[in-house]
């Protein structure tokens, strides 16, 4: 045991000596590190500015360390916008979008992965083909429709229409097809399970990893949605957090301290979620584009 350890330690040291600290490697680390700083700096600025008053932000040189104005900024923000309400709207829309998307996409993904039925391939092709229709093409008619059915200023306009997403169906079909054995479903059928029972009792529990990924992607997408909300939500009360911040930035006189505090409040929750789920999320987001 002791000997084996010593030997392995010896090898590591040797390899490290051979190619560990070459100049090329060091410069690669340097480039990667500088790139990471480049990616992180705006977040740092956001956090720092959120804790300074507008006057401090606009002083020269600009503040580079945290101040103590964050809560005052939040108060100022609440004086010009019903921001808690806007945050709640964002949260509600994101949660509803996630719930509906998970349900419809896993149901359809299950059907495409586990059943042999007439027209399956054609229909799946149609599902994927809908991904090619860009959103801007029906921006105006979508708005007119929402107006006609009275969904302007209603959250449902933002979470329901996109709920059965082609991307989600594709993701769920791939996962269910690759992980759930068909025999399992046959066995459950013999035990008297209904078709929906198979979905609810077997597929849902087994597809949890993919559901988690799709849920994250959907939640973040809905939380960050700007253009769709811009078209449908028109009063300060129904604004999402993104719209409220966008409107505040475009306003004639902008309190930049308050604006940054609001930005911090909308971004930090996502950063925390990301810290715990980054691996799953990155894999999920790339699954559709690389494996497809």
């Amino acid at each position: 045991m002791q000997g084996a350890k010593a030997i392995s330690r010896g090898t590591t040291r040797r390899t490290a000596g051979r190619r560990g600290v070459s100049l090329a490697r060091l410069s690669a680390y340097l480039i990667i590190g500088l790139g990471a700083i480049f990616c992180l700096t705006p977040f740092y600025i956001m956090l720092v500015y959120g804790s300074h008053s507008a006057a401090e932000i606009f002083s020269f040189p600009p503040p580079l360390w945290f101040g103590d104005q964050f809560f005052i900024n939040v108060e100022n923000l609440l004086a010009v916008a019903p921001f808690w309400r806007n945050l709640w709207n964002s949260f509600y829309i994101a949660i509803m979008a996630t719930a509906f998307t998970l349900f419809f996409c896993s149901l359809a993904g299950f059907a495409f992965a586990m059943y042999d039925f007439k027209g399956r391939e054609t229909m799946f092709t149609v599902v994927l083909a809908t991904l090619l229709i860009p959103g801007f093409l029906n921006l105006v008619p979508f708005y007119l429709m929402m107006q006609a059915i009275g969904w302007i200023d209603r959250p449902i306009a933002l979470y329901l229409p996109g709920a059965a997403s082609a991307f989600g169906i594709f993701l769920m079909r791939q996962f269910i097809g690759a992980t759930v054995p068909r025999d399992l479903l046959e066995a459950a059928r013999i035990d008297g399970a209904s078709e929906f029972g198979l979905f609810w009792r077997i597929i849902i529990p087994l597809a949890r990893p993919a559901l988690g990924t799709l849920g994250l992607v959907t939640f973040i997408g809905a939380w960050n949605n700007y253009q769709g909300a811009l078209v449908v939500m028109q009063s300060k009360e129904t604004f999402t957090a993104q719209l409220a911040l966008g409107a505040l930035k475009g306003a004639f006189r902008t309190d930049w301290g308050a604006l940054f505090a609001g930005t911090v409040i909308t971004v930090v929750p996502l950063l925390i979620i990301f810290a715990f789920t980054s691996k799953q999320l990155i894999e999920g987001l790339t699954a559709g584009s690389v494996k497809g």
Partner: protein
Amino acid sequence: MALIQRKSTRFPNLLSRKYAPYLFIAPFFIFFVIFGLFPTLFSFYLSFQEWRQAQGLGAMQWNGIENYTFTLTDPWFWQAFRNTLSLGVYGLAIQPVSVLMAFLIHQTLSRFKHLALALYFLPYITSTVAVAIVFSMVFSKNAGLLNAILAVLNQIPLLGLIVPNEPVDWLGKAATVQPSIALLLFWRYLGWNIILHITAIQAIPKELYEAAAIDGANVRQQFWRITLPLLRPTLFLTVTLTIIGQMQLFDEPYILTGEGGPGRAGLTVATYLYLTGFKWGEPGTAAAIAWILFVFIVIFNVLNNYLFKGEGRARG
């Protein structure tokens, strides 16, 4: 027997094995027809109508291709188009950088690889609104971080000669609006592109590199002869995604410059479409713009397809 009996009374044959899959995929098609297909067809119809929305649906009037000819002869459209294109050209810079970064990360990092990727990926999950707010301060003339950095660089001998010694009004001058937007986009999508590329790099069999190393190929040769050629399909994908994304660019320039900023240098086609439809109240023209934009996206992708395929054939 008893089981089947019970099942069929509880779920009268709608949920039988034969019909269940149709029922399960029905929501997609119902939603698609209502919220996707119908508005798209309606958008096509609308693009041939003269209509002021305030006058109600009955006031729609067929005016042939006038919306199209109006758009295609409107200097604002062509300016927006040129802006979108030049932002797209800036946008292509992300490809070589992200390929190189992906290669470097893949070659040198193991334990911290995921951490590095996660950090690079952060900008992509951040909302465009937040990003635009932060960057409008980065670009601010008197209190902006970019000018502060440039002021420091200006003090360094030699380097100082190529750095402007006056603070630059990045978003206040037509000439610098597009580079500013491009920098924001580069920052935001770099990590996403790195991850697409590194996923493909990881899929390249190690044996290829080992064989090349035995034959005496150094890292640089391995990159040019193995990694890059095998990345072609992914490069094709990322270029395609960049084209599609760039052509419908809206959020970032709209929040950063509103209706385009100085000299309308930040006015993109998608912004022009939005303004026409929602600010200037001409849904018919907006629909025509959307279809024109769609045709251009198709053309660019066909070109891209052709370039990638053609190059592949030439190299054998």
